[in-house]
């Protein structure tokens, strides 16, 4: 049941917007075309930032540099009581959505989605966002280079999310 609701949300939203437009007698098709052109402009403007961050993170990951750089974090995460195979997810999550998704899939394959690590991974993955990527695009779009603590606050929120999901799983809510 819920699965159907989930699948229907996006098409329904588009339909509602179209109906509202037609009801108010707007030139829906022309507005759509104008919007697409405008969107193309936005994509054009943020493309360099997307390219830069994707390649930078890809390089860090594939060369193994990230593992070395983030190695000091590991004892801290072990101390928090995170299962061994969830640790890469905690580290990867703010940096890359694709990479963390593949970590989650590994965990599911290894210990199943209903195991403790599986549940923890699901919650962490679902409750957080690719912090670094979001910051880059939103600030990049308007050409701002100073972040004023946003990164720190965002990471603090991510750490909270990780700690909270450990608590929830250990308490047995899930």
């Amino acid at each position: 049941m819920l699965n159907y609701v989930v699948i229907c949300i996006v098409p329904l939203m588009i339909l509602v917007i179209l109906i509202i437009g037609i009801k108010e007698k707007r030139d829906v098709f022309k507005l759509f075309i104008d919007g697409v052109l405008e969107g193309l402009n936005v994509v054009y403007k943020i493309f360099p930032y997307i390219l830069a961050i994707t390649i930078a993170i890809g390089l860090l990951k594939d060369t193994g540099a990230m593992n070395i750089l983030l190695y000091p974090l590991k004892p801290f995460l072990v101390f928090l009581g995170i299962p061994e195979n969830v640790i890469p997810l905690c580290i990867m999550r703010p940096l890359s959505g694709g990479a963390s998704m593949s970590v989650v899939m590994d965990i599911f394959k290894e210990s199943g989605p209903d195991s403790i690590s599986g549940k923890m991974a699901s919650v962490i993955m679902g409750a957080t966002e690719t912090t670094l990527y979001t910051i880059t695009i939103l600030f990049g779009a308007v050409g701002i280079k100073k972040m004023r603590g946003v990164l720190f606050a965002g990471l603090l929120a991510d750490i909270t999310a990780i700690i909270m999901s450990i608590i929830l799983v250990n308490v047995g809510i899930i």
Binding site: G21, A127, V150, A153, M164
Partner: protein
């Protein structure tokens, strides 16, 4: 994909419904944002961004987010330093507001979980607490830097 969403939301933007829609959200959002420094247009985009985030349409959310940032940049006095509203807005976007974690549920179904949707409520609890921590800390930083 982003261009498609840009087209769809351009229709919505030009209708009269957007005003009502934005008003619904603004009551809540004005608690977080500084009212005086926020134009109506920026508020429209922020409302659409939050709504698309909640529904989990990532591409549409990014697009509306960029437009909101552009509007806020117009009000910003120091062009290379983000205003308080901008930092708060970016922070909200780094926290995942998604109400129904579609992709996560789908993945759990794929790996034959016994209860794929068991994670939904925990995710709400976790997201909400992370959002509170994030907003509190960004507010503290905003005050510190003036």
């Amino acid at each position: 994909m982003m261009c498609f969403w840009s087209g769809i939301f351009n229709i919505f933007e030009k209708t009269a419904t957007i005003k009502k829609f934005s008003k619904c959200f603004s009551r809540l959002l004005y608690k977080i944002f500084n009212k005086e420094k926020l134009s109506d247009l920026a508020m429209n985009y922020i409302s659409m961004n939050v709504a698309t985030n909640i529904l989990g349409v990532g591409n549409a959310a990014t697009l509306n987010g960029i437009k909101a940032m552009e509007e806020m940049q117009k009000e910003n006095t120091k062009k290379d330093i983000p205003s308080n509203n901008m930092t708060t807005f970016v922070l909200i976007n780094t926290a995942s507001l998604q109400l129904i974690p579609t992709s996560m549920i789908a993945l759990r179904v794929m790996y034959s979980s016994v209860s794929p949707t068991a994670i939904v409520v925990p995710i709400w609890i976790v997201t909400f607490s992370a959002l509170i921590v994030g907003i509190t800390s960004i507010k503290t930083f905003n005050k510190k830097w003036g």
